[in-house]
Amino acid sequence: MIKTFLKASVGALAISLTIGTAAMAEDSFKLGYLGGLTGYLAPYDQPSLDGVQFGVDEINAAGGIQGKMKIELLSRDMRSETAEAAVMAQELVSEGVNFLIVPCDVDPAIAAGQIAAAAGIPAMSSCASTPTLPGIVGEFMFSNYTADNLQAAALANHAIEQGHKNALVMLSKDTPYTQKLPEYFSQAFQAKGGTVAGVLEYKMGQQDFAVEVTKIKAITPAPDVIMTSAYEPDFPAFIKALRAAGVTAPVLGSDGIDSPTTMALGDVAEGVVFSNAGFVVEGSPLAKFYADFKAAKGKEPETVFVATGYDIIKLLDAAVGASGGKIDGKSLRDAVDGLENVNVSTGTMTFKGMNRVPLRTVALNKVTGGAKTFVKQVTLAPADVPPAQ
């Protein structure tokens, strides 16, 4: 959409390496959005921006934050390059943003977050799920999305409730997500009294899971449940091999497999339970969000990242309310850090006492007859969440 009057003040046809600061109205809230809108981060940062943009439009139509402070959104594409993230974060800080949303991956989030933190401006990664991220940068850095340890804890609780006692965990050291999430699951599962029958390692993109499946079959007693954070193309290859070998143990997965590919797998995926940020239950706030979004944009959000991006605007609204209208860096930071049970589209979010990794509602979904069905929404107790490592 043409909100160009906001951006036109920045870009010009001059071949210049300096950016002029735009003069803006006093009582407006400058929100910076820095994301990888092209490159490998695009599947995460683009929908997040869509959600943020929708939230900004919605709240400005009603008068702005707390009904009186309109949001000016400054969005930049760092092209999934960490060096570019640092440069653009510096530029946005120089333009006087009150809050900076940073990309969905650790490296650029750290690079951008450090720059915001040095300027005393709070930053939040729109959908990075590594729970160690805020701790690395410091007190001005927040997470937003359902962290890996949260999803793992929700899955572990579910496994225990289903009566599973002995779990087999499969992880890959190739990325933090595929390595850490299953490790957090092991921790949470064992903390609740379960045992881990074994931990298998695979290499992403390895295509053939015959070795892993053979090892699983060889374990005695056979594990009650198998958990992995593998996603396509590894997960489809794995589950097909697993079922073909006659292993019938239930499989638990995480939000990486929240995709049409999984639904299309047919019988082999039947009964797979996986966690994600939210399920569109009829009559829920998420359903309302999906409907509103469809009304405005013509189609439903394609991924849940749109919703979690939208949630950030809800958080900001609540934070400014809590700070009494103060939007200087420190006040805003303190306000966000103290948020409790904020109503967002995906459920509730709490930052208080959580070391800047929010406690969010986690949804559990099941593959039933080639469709995603709802199992339940989980609001964890902080004690259930394994510490970030």
């Binding site: 870009g11 071949i15 390496l17 092209t38 490159g39 690395i136 933090p176």
Partner: protein, 615 residues
């Protein structure tokens, strides 16, 4: 050979002014920014300098060898990982890299010590990997560098505990400021330029332009590639050190395909084969990105408001690269260095140096013996049990119909083909099966059937490349002076500055001969040196060859189809037909030989030719 001589061979003194100008073009604006600008602009400039050093690392190897390297980013990864492991604060290091030995945990080094250690590690790995990579054929080597990138990435990811595995290294102290980056970039430009113009760079570029001809000049192409691989790796490692200490956060995936292709794009845009091209490419791409990304946010074009359009940068860059590739100019600069753009008055006059006497004369060697040499390709016998002797000071002609095995025989002698049986020796020294560059160094020069010049080098540089092998003790200026003299002997001194690929055919042939005699060989094999020349040109070559043989006491074996030339030039003539030596003797004997006529004309026509002679 003293250090001074080595230095004067390595350091192309005449290239220093050009290198300094190039460095100034980069350094002065950046230093101005350091003083005047702030924040994001400083960061942009520093990032640019890091990319520049990285691009130069690739350029040293790929530009000079012609082998596209996808592996230099692996050296960046190693440089970053090792140096960051040494400069990290103790607490973070101990927590994040638990498997490192205790004494490394306790170390927190400054930038320079860490950089030096990192580059030592890079040198070792570059040497070991280079031993394999540089011995491969050009395309295989290129794929091997890709494999190297993947292997290094996998090792770093797999070594969790020593490294962060796939997770981020963070907390690296921000030790590289803009002035330091400028200094390192200037050093990188100097190293790249001086390498290119050194005798090592010259010989490597010769190997790039024509590998077989370079070997025939005695150049050990694999060794030169190894030199460039290690030198380029050092700059890449340095770029990695800079990267880590500018951004302060990185992970293994930063040093992988995306960065590799960004760097290669800069080289393609600017010109792979010149240092100025690498710098120009880095500047142009960076400026293009800086302009396009600001336009991405939407702008006003008079009354028209252009909306926000993400992706404009990628599209614009891709179009620019396509445009450059389509133009077929080898990038913006092609093979030119900055001297081509300086006004004539600025160009450094090459200081004239007196001629230095040649040291190699292969005095001891008297005769080249070919004994019972055969060469078979599968079932086909190209050379069948041929024996001959070539003495210094004599001219022997080798003739025969097309396909009779003349070129194969020359190849066996010169080492480009491996004889299936038989023995070739210089006096008592057996040279059968030795690689061509060794045979060349032992005193055998050759030219090829098709012209194989180093077409992207200047004419003088063609000769210098060969002379550099023959005279290890000569400085670059001495090489240049002596090369000019050799060109003068061939009557083409006025062509010295021209690019060899732009010459007329006859002139190219003369350059080839000049290059062959630069080796001061005892024996010279010429394969159809006057092919395609008219009578006048042929006469000139005739004179030159006669003079050379007499003055330098060379044993000349010449293959040609020009019977007039052969008959008037040669002392003896050998005739091959279908791989067999069917006749040997004086020109007169050969002319009258029935076997020779049959070979050329076929039996029926030979009989008729004989009949024509009868009244």
């Amino acid at each position: 050979m003293g250090f001074g001589t080595t230095l004067s061979r390595a350091v192309a003194v005449d290239a220093i002014p050009g290198a300094l100008i190039l460095a100034a073009i980069v350094a002065l604006p950046c230093l101005a920014l350091a003083a005047l600008a702030s924040g994001a602009t400083l960061l942009t400039a520093t990032n640019f300098l890091v990319m520049l050093v990285a691009v130069l690392g690739i350029s040293i190897f790929s530009g000079n060898s012609g082998i596209m390297s996808f592996g230099n980013v692996a050296f960046m990864a190693i440089g970053a990982q090792v140096s960051a492991s040494l400069t990290l604060p103790v607490a973070i290091k101990t927590a994040n890299l638990p498997l490192l030995p205790g004494f490394i945990h306790a170390l927190q080094l400054d930038l320079w010590s860490a950089a030096i250690i990192a580059m030592l590690v890079v040198t070792v790995l570059a040497y070991l990997s280079g031993l394999a990579i540089t011995r491969m054929a050009v395309t295989s080597a290129s794929i091997a560098t890709l494999g190297f990138l993947i292997i290094v990435n996998s090792v770093i990811v797999g070594a969790q505990g020593f490294t962060r595995g796939s997770q981020a290294m963070y907390g690296v102290p921000k030790l590289v400021t803009l002035p330091i980056a400028v200094l390192l970039a200037v050093i990188a430009i100097a190293v790249a330029r001086l390498y290119r113009e050194s005798t090592a760079g010259l010989r490597l570029r010769a190997g790039r332009d024509n590998e077989a001809a370079a070997r025939a000049c005695g150049i050990d192409v694999a060794q030169q590639r190894l030199n460039a691989w290690v030198t380029g790796a050092l700059l890449s490692g340095l770029a990695g050190v800079m990267f880590a200490h500018v951004l302060t956060v990185f992970s293994a995936k930063e040093f992988y395909f995306d960065l590799t292709f960004s760097l290669i794009a800069m080289l393609v845009v600017g010109g792979l084969a010149s240092v100025t091209g690498a710098v120009a490419g880095a500047i142009v791409v960076t400026m293009l990105i800086e302009i396009l990304r600001r336009l991405e946010n939407g702008f006003a074009l008079g009354p028209i408001e252009v909306p926000q359009f993400f992706g404009l940068t990628e599209i614009g860059l891709s179009l620019a690269i396509l445009a450059i590739l389509y133009s077929g100019q080898n990038g913006l600069l092609g093979f030119r260095e900055i001297e081509a753009f300086l006004p004539a008055a600025w160009r450094v006059r090459r200081k004239a140096v007196a001629l230095t006497a040649a040291t190699t004369a292969h005095r001891g060697v008297e005769a080249l013996q070919v004994a019972g040499v055969s060469k078979s390709y599968g079932g086909l016998r190209a050379v069948d049990n041929v024996s001959l002797t070539l003495r210094r000071g004599e001219i022997v002609g080798l003739i025969g119909p097309n396909g009779s095995g003349k070129t194969s025989l020359l190849g066996c002698i010169a080492g480009t083909h491996l004889p299936s049986s038989g023995r070739i020796s210089m006096d008592t020294r057996d040279i059968t099966g030795l690689p061509p560059q060794m045979i060349a160094r032992l005193g055998l020069g050759r030219s090829f059937q098709t012209v194989r010049l180093f077409s992207n080098l200047r004419v003088r540089e063609n000769v210098m490349a060969a002379l550099a092998e023959a005279e290890p003790g000569f400085s670059l200026r001495q090489l240049a002076a002596n090369s000019n003299a050799i060109l003068a002997e061939m009557g083409i001194a006025q062509l010295a500055e021209q690019s060899a690929g732009t010459l007329a055919y006859g002139q190219q042939r003369r350059v080839e001969i000049a290059r062959a005699i630069a080796l001061a060989p005892a024996f010279l094999l010429l394969d159809e040196p006057t092919a395609g020349m008219n009578d006048a040109e042929t006469a000139v070559i005739l004179d030159i060859l006669k003079r050379l043989v007499k003055d330098k006491n060379i044993g000349l074996l010449i293959v040609d189809h020009d019977m007039k030339l052969i008959m008037s030039l040669c002392d003896r003539i050998l005739v091959l037909n279908k791989g067999l030596l069917i006749a040997a003797g004086s020109p007169l004997e050969i002319q009258e030989s029935r076997d020779v006529q049959e070979a050329y004309l076929g039996r029926r026509h030979a009989r008729r030719a004989g009949q024509i002679d009868r009244p």
